[in-house]
Chain length 341, copies 6
């Protein structure tokens, strides 16, 4: 089986336990995360070979991060060593009407200083089916942006499928404009994931006002308009929109649509009681890639990837530890929530 | 006050904390459980004397299990020592659209090797009102099946009331067919607990298709048909059906009905945000037994036992630590959910 | 900026983790609380200077309590030392249909023996805008009642605004009748917080029966009648009613109204998935005080204070760690529940 | 087998985890303890039947205490219900040169108000071999002192052996002089446990100055003089002295001697790396009682009881969970400290 | 670099936290272990490629075990799937005069049913330098014994170095005599690890009585006699003796000697304050293998391997997470115990 | 009472629990530390007013750090807000022959960008007796070095006593040579703390070779030579040397000497079983300052400050929570290690 490659940073995530605020806790639950690594971890749990490419400093906390990638089966043989620190983030989990909060500390990490020359691209792309990138890594530094673009170009050159989630984080885009960068890289992207809010804010693509439902959600038609416009304007054969109606930090409605070769496909919208919503989009991306590698038709792809994202909401920390059969079972609408013994 | 006897296995339950998956956790919360012990623990918390009969190996983890039974007031003086291992199970708690998972390891435990001759039946049945058995223990081994049947026969012989919950676990019934066994033991059973799904699958008793509501639940009439048929065909004076509509692993609708001397009685259906749903049926069984020992009329019995089962959903681990007055308060529909100080 | 003073007892709160019952746990989460301290902690988190007045014994657990007040920014320089013990309470958190339970142990604490002569009132009231008292402290002992009344009289004399939440706890009022005491102190109170149930039970003030909605909640008109009657009969310029519809221990509907100079103002009613509901009223009181100190108009005051109380439900333990801008954002009905990164 | 009875108070012990100070921790490990209950728990673990007599309030934390006694096999059927609170203590564990600290809160507990009429003495002493009392309970209140004295007298009257550890706690003796009380009760005591420091301070019994070793320990001869003097003056057939040389809070040297019918017997002195030193004396007392009930000769009794006390230092919390065979193995000087698998 | 192969079982280890006894704890720390896997984990941490061969059931707890092996870098591609359960053990950690205790539950695991035909031996031995076996796995079942012997023979045939630690556990050898089995397999072993106690008990090889020191330790000459005799009689070119003087469960003296081609080499004896002594022998074995693969001379090999074993005593759970440079630093007697920052 | 000022950085310390290595843990204990803050915290616990000066970013983790300073009573009103990140460090605690390890991440913190103009020096020095600086802060950046020097000059100008611990960390001194900087700042320092190793390495001050004891410790005469030389060459009226003999990470011997106005004073050397050795030097510095503010004579100062440092070894995390009376009791050689109840 061919492998999926990912390029991005690793973060040491420090989670205040339960619903404690940072000021209250004297313990953190630690986990290791990163948008692109999350996608690969979800794929690895579904038995897809992966190879995660990053640059980490030579210290014991970075070693712990790599050990954690290995634990979840990610390939780690192309991780470069360098730089003097690793990204950290502090997380407090919201509930009810209180939002979750993330304090990022991603300055000057190994990845911020990575250059194309740090990596063995032939080895990385050897036997690769897909590469996973995101809009987070290029936001970190000019070097990271250059290397991400380089990777996308190389992938295209070698016939490797390029999947990108824009994952827009306003607080990270400081040195350059996100739109300018995205427009440079979009020509190399085969599959592009975004939501309607970022489509409007970053790419200036929006649906007419009457496509919004009373609850604030963009309706099916509106999604189709946005996705087709992006696909048409920038070229990705697959454009996927994730759709979230936040009831509160504890409850959410979530689903997705994809536009594949100009035709739209819609998932059901799920009502979800949230355990861990961070990483739902990454799980969805993994579901799309898995679907493509397994030849699912576009509707099944939409349903399967959405089920992956839905199930992620039930899982703590950022890796989606869901097997393909579990996601299929939900996608195909069979019973769920019972005790399996 | 007369005592309630239970016969069954004890399991060392190992729970991944919170909603962690087994692969994620490096700690387990440990608890000691078993369907029949759960019924007795619930009765003991309501101040009913109990005596739990089992067979455990001579080691320190079995000692811990017995200490835990004592903690919750169960009589432990008829526990036989023997066999070389104790049952273990690993549990991960589902949430939202993700089901809970149990990895059973119940092979060759002390109970699998128990024989009627291991126990002092005169002492066990001395001053006993009721014996609690279930469909789990006979599934474990031929010896366990023989001893369970022996206990039911002995109880009948001595005028002790026999309560049995079928508790069907497909993965445990390997050496024999569940239906064949149940049909052998049902003649000795006075009170039989089952749900409509198992009634159909195991006993072949079902209601007409038009008795199913749109949400998949069997309606009141359908329940009456099933319960009456079981009572009529196999003889138990009391047949109880528990009724569950699983919204998700986090939310459920739950209630029950009983058929007593051929007449049906229905509880309200409760909407429940789930903390610990395992053991709800055992708590319900305890409620039925408590009701009978205290002379509740059939409707009060139904309401009380259902309230016991409902409250179990709010309690971690498998023992229902609810007093009779707390259950009555809910059954009688007074205020709940406020802070008691 | 002027400071807010509070007078009351501190409790060492011992919380069974998660949803465990007291009998199940071998660990407690410890926190330090008290109705009046909770109000001050919420104000301190919104950058209002505070000074908490209490009397604590000279031992290491009282030192820990004071350190915790300092942590959250409360002034502690007027805490008297004396008495031989500190209040303790054991808490188990309810869920679903099971109520939370508190075992109080508040006998003979430092505050029970406090006398006006223990404190430097000139220092306490120096630069004070408001004093926070409640109906809990006077219930603890005659000395505590005398000192609370003395503080209210002194405040009135010095032009300091007096805010009082009746916080009725039936189990604490043993030595005197709550109504008799409240009628002695109400003339000195400028802002009075109560709910309709306590208004009826303690003050004998109620609305006509047809003001109750089917779900048991008193409607807007009924609230207006009650609040106006209290304001008119006893004199507080501001009377606030908190309104709660308990769906279960896990879900609640909550809001408030205030009657300011005879005119009623109503908040939205919020549906809330509960993390920590204790202290919601204290957070609301803090919101009212903050609003007055910042000159909010009565409707904004109502909305802001209600948002404070709503957000408290999302926070563990009893201090409301919510900034003024977070509460304003919710009050003004913008998006909430998203991840802030 | 005959049972051992104990009379005393139960305490809810709250332990700062590890070596944290009270000001540092936001969690407590909870355990239930009391000098006399500790003796019975140690005996129960060695399969001696026991019956613990106390008076506890009717609340959920007292229920948890009783459940914990049951867990460790203590008889609880003669526990009276009454009073309004349970004793609490906060513990921080010392290390190296820093002492452990206990903040007691034992005021006005159920036991402080106990009277002889609260208990069924015929049931308590039925089939009893020994009663365990200590110098802690009479220090708590005049009622507790009266009841303890009453129990000793009743025991003597019924031929039940009376074992008493003086367990002198200066901070608890407030209402009466310890010596006066001890001299009233000593005539009813058959076995008396004390150390040389308390013998001097409370009873005024001491050895000549040249009996002290350079390290401050009283030597064997000195111990003999003290024990014989106590036995001769007050009458107990067995007087036992525990002997401790505190190297630091982490390391200790510990042993014991007993004077039986006027003849001294000495144990080895053990060097011990301390895990939990509280309760060593109680474990020693249990060892003496077990030895007597099993007819050990005085030297074996001394060695066995000392081994019980030594092993207690390796166990967390206050119950000595050591089997008779484990203590014997150490007493008889075989190998220890290896891994048993 | 060539790889090291290991063949053995995996155990789910359940550790009572701190020094709690099994009866006291309601949590377990979970870890995954096995004598042969421990050796490979230590090698992997020193950057030696490894491949762990075992047979595990198809369930989620076995998946967690494999993930844990991957985390520490072990190769897992030759793990067979089969059998219905995984080994479990419950551990309580001793302290002071109290021994550690292990409750094994290793009956009928996947490995008990493994056969040579389950594995791809060509793949396993491809590029292998060494295979690690032990006396534990053959004790588990006749099939496990057969497969272990088969692996040793195959290794010899292919020129792969065979390292075996006898790891004698009396409680596991039930179906066959350990000596008979060891004498069958010893001809295929190149490096054999044992202690003098097992040499005497199992192989009947001992030193004259006057070789024992007063503290019970066999002296250098005695070790030489034993090791040479084993090497001479059974053939392994390297025979290593580990030497332990147990002061208590908290303190130990530990060292080793090896006999290489008939000549003895001795390490220093270290005084060690124990954190985790289980796995010291496995760490030592890894040190020997590492030394051989890196061409250390016999004295350096002895010192290095001993340092590995010493450092293991400072590490929790069973994998020795020590780099080669850390072990070298200790072996070469430089400063240790300072803070590295 | 006059206050003590400190200037330095705050670190968010992340401690692997117990003796776990970073790669093993999925939780961190969090604490907030910094050499200069540690000194102030120790003083604050001894009731000395303090004011901690630093520069922290405007985020929730920095808020948590400040709350923690407040908890321990430090003045925080002169903390500047600025910069984009806070220092982080990951700590694993050594044991036995394994050293502790710290992974620093102190790049580009708020303090690295601090300038004299960020602070209100008049307010800072108002009523100040002493300022605490260290060799750590100037190592962080040129700005931090400039500001530290500025503070020392200002203090000297205003007659405020300057205490400095060189606290040499090789890994932090990258942009400048430590010796060059220290020689610039030493003229402003009144009290200087160092150990003999750093005296030699950084200042080139050493004792003759025959002053070293066999165990590697510099003897009393050697210490006197070094301290006098530093005092004479650079001017501080008080030079203090801390003396440590590391037995292992678990056991240490520790003491100190001071040279005051040219005359040496020596403490006892203590054998210590280590709980938390980080911060012992800071506790010692606090002891010196406390002694001077309370007019202790030089020998008492030496003994008291040493006792502070000794007791720190028994306390978890970096703040020395020891009262003056506890330190005095140890200094004056009374009993220690007993249980205080």
């Amino acid at each position: 089986m061919k492998k999926v490659v990912g390029l991005g940073d690793m973060i040491c995530g420090l989670n205040a336990p339960g619903y404690l605020k940072l000021i209250q806790t004297d313990r953190f639950d630690v986990f290791y995360t990163g948008a692109e690594a999350n996608v690969l971890a979800a794929l690895s749990y579904m038995n897809v070979p992966t190879d995660f490419v990053t640059r980490l400093p030579d210290n014991d906390i970075a070693k712990a991060a790599v050990a954690n990638l290995r634990k979840y089966g990610l390939g780690t043989s192309h991780i470069a060593t360098g730089g003097s620190r690793m990204a950290v983030m502090f997380v407090e989990t919201g509930a009810a009407q209180r939002s979750s909060k993330v304090v990022f500390d991603r300055y000057n990490t190994g990845v911020c200083g990575m250059k194309p020359s740090h990596f063995d691209w032939d080895g990385i792309f050897d036997n690769a089916d897909t590469i996973v990138i995101s809009g987070i890594t290029p936001a970190l530094s000019p070097d990271a942006a250059t290397t991400t673009l380089y990777a996308a170009e190389e992938a295209r050159k070698r016939g490797v499928f390029v999947s990108c989630d824009i994952n827009y984080r306003a607080s990270l885009w400081s040195y350059e404009d996100c739109r300018i960068y995205m427009e440079k890289i979009l020509p190399y992207i085969d599959q592009f994931i975004i939501n309607e809010d970022h489509a409007k804010k970053i790419l200036g693509v929006s649906a007419p006002g009457d496509c919004y439902q009373e609850n604030g959600l963009l309706n099916d038609d509106g999604c189709d308009i946005v996705a087709k416009e992006i696909s048409g304007r920038y070229g990705p054969g697959t454009v996927a929109l994730t759709r979230r109606l936040t009831i509160s930090a504890s409850d959410t409605v979530w689903g997705a649509m994809i536009c594949e070769n100009g035709r739209p496909y819609h998932s059901r919208m799920y009502s979800i009681h949230v355990v861990g919503r961070i990483g739902a989009g990454d799980a969805f991306a993994a579901g799309l890639i898995y679907s493509r590698m397994n030849g699912f038709d576009p509707q099944k792809k939409t349903d399967f990837a959405t089920a992956c994202g839905v199930l992620k909401h039930s899982i703590s920390m950022d890796f989606n530890l869901v097997s393909a059969s579990e996601a299929l079972e939900l996608a195909e609408n069979r019973d769920y929530g019972r005790v399996n013994r």
